[in-house]
């Protein structure tokens, strides 16, 4: 039974190894699109070098990220659903919200464009036409920032596509949704970053059919979890991270970030010279 004893010893040793580590860490709830673009891999080492603070990214949909922040399970959130962010800020769940950067959404579809969307400059009009022609549309359906944007456009178009047979809610991440749209020869709304990254890598047979409508603007913002509501959060460190993101250095880093195909995915747009006032 010697083998057994050795086995047991190894297992017990493995269990006893502690999981702890010394460095100061803060937790940032953010979105899969930001994480998958590689932006954090580029930004965080710069911030870590400057402050010694390690940022742990939990990448989920914007809806989940905000919920995680509301519950106090993160110190800072970095998401893209400005209206909702402002609402939660007013409700006191968060503090110190700032615009950081933007990119935009585009509508993509099959190159032969069965719904005839090409040439339209209005996303609202494009959605109306999709509904009229009953062209298949893949919706994220996961309460993410992209999904919220999509719902806003449907509302603006005066339509409720839920339950229609050409409207498919898949409840998956942007990359998976794009893949489904590609397989089904369907239309979908995507952020430009994920689209650019996937289009080349996976030889997607889709193309951009509508872009440039102001409604498709995609603002990213950062805010700290309110320490009054959740006293355990690392508010001071969170503010340092926020300060870095909107600082000249952070903004420049965002502007110089390129994905593996050399595309610029994010455009910094924080207001200049903001002084961050910690809440009392």
């Amino acid at each position: 039974m010697r083998l057994g004893k050795i086995l047991l010893a190894v297992i017990i040793l493995m269990s006893l190894l502690s999981y702890t580590h010394g460095q100061t860490r803060i937790r940032c709830a953010s979105t899969t699109s930001t994480q998958n673009s590689g932006l954090f891999d580029y930004l965080l080492p710069i911030f870590e070098k400057e402050t010694g603070i390690k940022v742990d990214i939990v990448a989920v949909g914007t809806g989940a990220a905000l919920e995680i922040g509301k519950r106090g399970d993160a110190d800072v959130v970095f998401v893209h659903a400005k209206e909702e962010e402002l609402r939660l800020l007013r409700e006191g769940y968060f503090a110190n919200r700032y615009d950081v950067m933007y990119n935009d959404f585009v509508i993509v579809g099959p190159p032969d464009d069965p719904a005839g969307l090409k040439g339209l400059s209005s996303a609202t009009e494009a959605f109306q036409r999709l509904a009229q022609r009953g062209a298949t549309f893949i919706s994220r359906g996961d309460n993410s920032g992209t999904h919220k944007k999509e719902l806003k456009i449907w509302k603006k178009a005066g339509l409720n596509p839920k339950g229609r047979k050409w409207y498919l809610e898949v409840g998956q991440s942007m990359a998976k949704t794009l893949r489904i749209a590609n397989e089904k020869r369907a239309y979908t709304l995507t952020d430009r970053g994920t689209w650019l990254a996937l289009k080349d890598k996976e030889r997607m047979d889709l193309e951009i059919v509508v872009e440039g409508d102001p409604v498709l603007f995609n603002q990213y913002g950062v805010m700290a979890v309110n320490p009054k509501r959740h006293p355990h959060v690392k508010y001071k460190e969170a503010l340092k991270f926020i300060r870095f993101l909107i600082s000249e250095k952070g903004q420049k880093a965002i502007a110089t970030f390129r994905d593996s195909h050399g595309n610029q995915l994010f455009y910094p747009n924080a207001s200049k010279g903001v002084r961050i006032k910690p809440i009392e």
């Binding site: 083998l3 086995l7 860490r25 998958n36 399970d73 991440s173």
Partner: protein, 233 residues
């Protein structure tokens, strides 16, 4: 098909190059899964023995519940644990959410019913004469029970292997309570899910191949262990 070939090549390259980041991910996976299975085994075998040797009310109901929980969906375990460990939940003050410890708890919860239920049926299938013979030879009740558990060890090791297989392959629960944080709570399965999401299919598959190889090694060791036990009889 090409992707699959590339994946094998990349898996081989990754193993040869001993990439440090990958090594840390593998070690964390092993640490979490092995400690989870250790706790689940201790608790599971004790439960199985208790159910097999003691008569008490609701015993049958508990066995049925354990059998049902063998099929617990990992995401459900993850979500329930999330709500319990969240800062706004009952155990929030412990600050365990998004730590390897939380992942360990999730995996132990997933493995426990498997070990308990399968060990229970292994113990139950031991011929009753063994217990009677032990008692006849003057063993105490506890000693006789121990003899029965000993006789069921082949089945018990199988239950541990099944439990380990489940936790090593599991992604839903550890993703929710671990958060897939790079360099901290990122394990093999969550890395595979992430690389798939990022569209690097061949890397995702290469990692899958490595994970399978590790499982194979563990199972080989367990198999040798099991065989030696049989030979010792």
């Amino acid at each position: 098909m090409n992707e699959i070939l590339i994946a094998f090549k990349r898996a081989a390259l990754l193993i040869i190059s001993l990439d440090r980041e990958l090594l840390e991910i593998i070690l964390l996976s092993l640490r979490i899964s092995l400690s989870a299975i250790f706790v689940a085994t201790v608790a599971g075998v004790l439960t199985a023995a208790l159910l097999a040797f003691r008569r008490f009310p609701l015993r049958g109901a508990i066995v049925s519940v354990l059998n049902t929980f063998m099929g617990l969906p990992p995401v459900v375990v993850g979500l329930v644990l999330y709500l319990i460990l969240s800062r706004s939940g009952p155990l929030g003050f412990l600050g365990l959410l998004y730590t390897p410890t939380a992942m360990f708890i999730a995996q132990a919860v997933l493995a426990y019913p498997i070990v308990a239920a399968m060990s229970y049926s292994a113990i139950r299938s031991v011929r009753p004469e063994i217990r009677l013979a032990a008692l006849g030879l003057g063993a105490t009740g506890f000693q006789a029970s121990l003899a029965v558990v000993r006789d069921a060890r082949y089945g018990i090791v199988s239950s541990v292997m099944a439990g380990l297989g489940r936790v090593m392959a599991e992604v839903g629960a550890v993703l929710i309570v671990g958060g897939n944080i790079a360099g901290y709570t990122r394990v093999m399965t969550t890395t595979i899910a992430l690389e798939y999401d990022k569209g690097d299919f061949s890397l995702a598959l290469a990692l899958g191949i490595i994970l399978l190889l590790i499982s194979l090694c563990i199972n080989l060791v367990m198999y040798l262990f099991q065989r030696r036990m049989t030979l010792a009889d």
